[in-house]
């Protein structure tokens, strides 16, 4: 089943082909919207949960363009030629884009406020799903019990073994502060100097600083590392494939991925119709059942089995022990911290 939907996703992506410029004329005839997506299993899950049912309901066709490119959002708005209407980005990125005037304001004639859940709207986008950035480890390497906190991740004596972290400055600093004993509600605004001091301790033990989701899975699957920072659905996918992988929710970072529409996108009316549809409980649940990123609409849990729910970032037991980053602080400081982090890595 998963494989078939995946193939369908590939076929749909292939049908769109290479870069495609949407002009005003082509869309008037067909009513098609273009969605910027991650490709692979992500797009396959979207295809089944959002695109197909939406087309059946409205007759509006959905085409996808992969992979997600934040820079293209800016390029499209600046050049006025659009490859896609909708994209999915993190909340902090959406906020920065909105400040630069790259995002279409919500069309309240189409989006119905009463049909939205609390916190659905942010920076002129709608909440898509919640993504966990977790500590994951190989159970077979720790028969006496694996690490349970970031302090354990930092503890080379109690938990020896190869480690890998996500090459992302804010996330790395966040985990370092938690490991250093900062209470969850005091992590933001960050004491950046303290975070880097703590990161100094772990740096020699980090075998790889990964940048891509596929790469992170390969590291844990092949046993290159024993524990690592990983996106929750990526880790769950490994466990589903039969690898002895355990996901830790304590101190995990939960960020919200947002849907946003490029300012001036030619199909924005139909795009808002689609987003209104996509944030409803049923499609959100269908997506979460396929890819273990959490629904943002609390009602969606009605359609999700307890076994799956326990693995989702927005499941109350998980969300309780995890940390939600301060989006505004992150948007304001990302560039600075990223520069310092990159320099720190290269030194």
């Amino acid at each position: 089943m998963r494989r078939r939907t995946f193939l369908k996703g590939v076929a749909a992506t292939a049908a769109v082909g290479g870069p495609l410029i949407v002009t005003g004329r082509t869309i008037a005839q067909t009513r098609t919207i273009y969605v910027n997506t991650w490709g692979g299993s992500w797009t396959a899950a979207e295809e089944a949960a959002f695109f197909k049912p939406f087309t059946e309901q409205t007759g509006i066709r959905v085409r996808t363009v992969a992979p997600v490119s934040y820079a293209k959002l800016k390029a499209q708005v600046q050049s006025g030629s659009y490859e896609w209407d909708i994209t999915a980005v993190t909340q902090a990125d959406l906020l920065r884009a909105e400040r630069e005037g790259l995002v279409e304001p919500i069309d309240w004639t189409i989006v119905k406020k009463e049909k939205l859940f609390p916190n659905a709207v942010y920076a002129n986008g709608l909440a898509y799903c919640a993504l966990g950035t977790n500590l994951a480890y190989r159970k077979d390497k720790f028969p006496q019990g694996g690490p349970k906190t970031w302090a354990d991740f930092w503890d080379m004596k109690k938990f020896p073994g190869n480690r890998s972290m996500y090459n992302n400055a804010v996330r790395a600093a966040q985990f370092a502060l938690v490991a250093d004993g900062v209470p969850p509600d005091k992590v933001f605004p960050m004491d950046v100097d303290r975070a880097f001091k703590k990161l100094d301790q772990i740096k020699p033990h980090i075998k790889v600083w990964w940048t891509q989701g596929n790469q992170s899975q390969q590291l844990l699957r092949d046993g290159e590392v024993d524990m690592m920072v990983m996106w929750n659905a990526r880790a769950s996918e490994l466990a589903q494939q039969g690898h002895p992988v355990e996901v830790v929710w304590h101190g995990a970072a939960i960020t919200t991925t947002m849907w946003g529409i490029a300012k001036g996108a030619p199909n924005r009316k139909a795009a808002w119709e689609f987003l209104q549809f996509a944030v409803q409980a049923k499609p959100q649940a269908d997506f979460a059942n396929r890819l273990y990123y959490g629904p943002t609409n609390p009602e969606a849990f009605k359609f999700i089995s307890p076994e799956v729910a326990r693995q989702l970032p927005t499941y109350s037991e998980n969300a309780k022990v995890a940390i939600r980053p301060d989006t505004v602080w992150e948007a304001d400081h990302t560039a600075r911290i990223q520069e310092r982090f990159t320099q720190w890595l290269a030194a």
Partner: protein, 294 residues
């Protein structure tokens, strides 16, 4: 070529001038479209990039100041050039003998080598990069061989080192070098070497005095090709190397994709372009760029 301004003394000369003029016009007609394409798709964007680097987000030279004052950027820039030089040298040392054998042998050996090189050339570089992850990985054949030989102790760290990154890039760029060398070596007349031998040159002397100098355009061509492609590499060092092996294009990508800092990214790109230009100019001064075209 002063456009035929001198008065024609004889009818024959006038005809010659007219022919020359027609030839010139034809040349311009032929040059027109490619020049236009190059201007529109190459010169204009580069000019825009230059403008962006000093105007985005406001008119200032602050981006350039940052590049030369924050140690990270000078470090990455330097690393990019040093890595490219090392990879180019390795490709040349490894590729020259292969291209030589491919040229000198006329039988199946040559065909086999050419097939292998071409297949390697056509295999996607991402595939080859991931292949190295397996080969050098902790469950890969290299580590397995280490254990099988009973060398004892913990095996050396291969993956996620500068060594792995350099190895991967050399492997990916080697076919470019070999094919560039082969194209030039193939044109060297075998009779030249026979002539050298008939004049008493031993094989080694014939190679040194005749073949090597004639193959230099290929060396130059291949080296420049590999060097320039290497300057723009970034996926392979990310996947196989350490953060210390960061290349400049990775930095530019990060600025564009993650931070939307197009002004700064443009400034980095301009510095890279100018630095490459300087290298080519120095090279041109001492070796001559026209050698590139054989």
């Amino acid at each position: 070529m002063a456009g035929g301004l001198s008065p024609a003394a004889t009818p024959g000369a006038e005809l010659g001038v007219r022919n020359a003029r027609r030839g010139q016009r034809a040349a311009w007609l032929l040059l027109g479209p490619p020049s236009l394409v190059l201007t529109l798709l190459f010169m204009v964007p580069i000019a825009l990039m230059l403008v962006t680097s000093v105007t985005d987000p406001r008119l200032s030279l602050a981006h350039y100041q940052r590049i030369f004052t924050v140690p990270l950027y000078t470090h990455v820039m330097l690393n990019t050039f040093v890595t490219s030089l090392i990879v180019t040298a390795l490709c040349l040392v490894l590729g020259y003998p292969v291209a030589y054998v491919m040229t000198r042998r006329t039988d199946w050996v040559s065909t086999l080598l050419l097939t292998i090189v071409a297949m390697s050339f056509w295999t996607g570089f991402l595939v080859r990069t991931y292949a190295w992850l397996v080969v050098l990985g902790s469950k890969g054949p290299v580590i397995a061989a280490y254990h099988a030989l009973g060398l004892g102790g913990s095996p050396p760290k291969l993956l996620f080192t500068s060594f792995a990154s350099t190895l991967g890039m050399t492997h990916i760029l080697l076919p470019y070098m070999i094919l560039a060398l082969f194209a030039v070596m193939k044109k060297i007349e075998p009779d030249h070497l026979k002539a050298a031998a008939s004049l008493g040159a031993r094989p080694r002397a014939a190679f040194r005095e005749v073949f090597l100098p004639l193959s230099l355009p290929g060396v130059v061509n291949g080296s420049l090709l590999v060097f320039v492609i290497c300057l723009g590499f970034f996926v392979t060092p990310i996947l196989l190397g350490t953060p210390r092996d960061m290349m400049i294009s990775q930095l530019i990508n990060q600025q564009i994709e993650e931070l939307l800092a197009w002004g700064f990214a443009s400034a980095v790109a301009v510095v890279l372009l100018v630095a490459t230009g300087i290298i080519l100019a120095v090279y041109n001064r001492f070796a001559g760029l026209d050698r590139l075209w054989g």
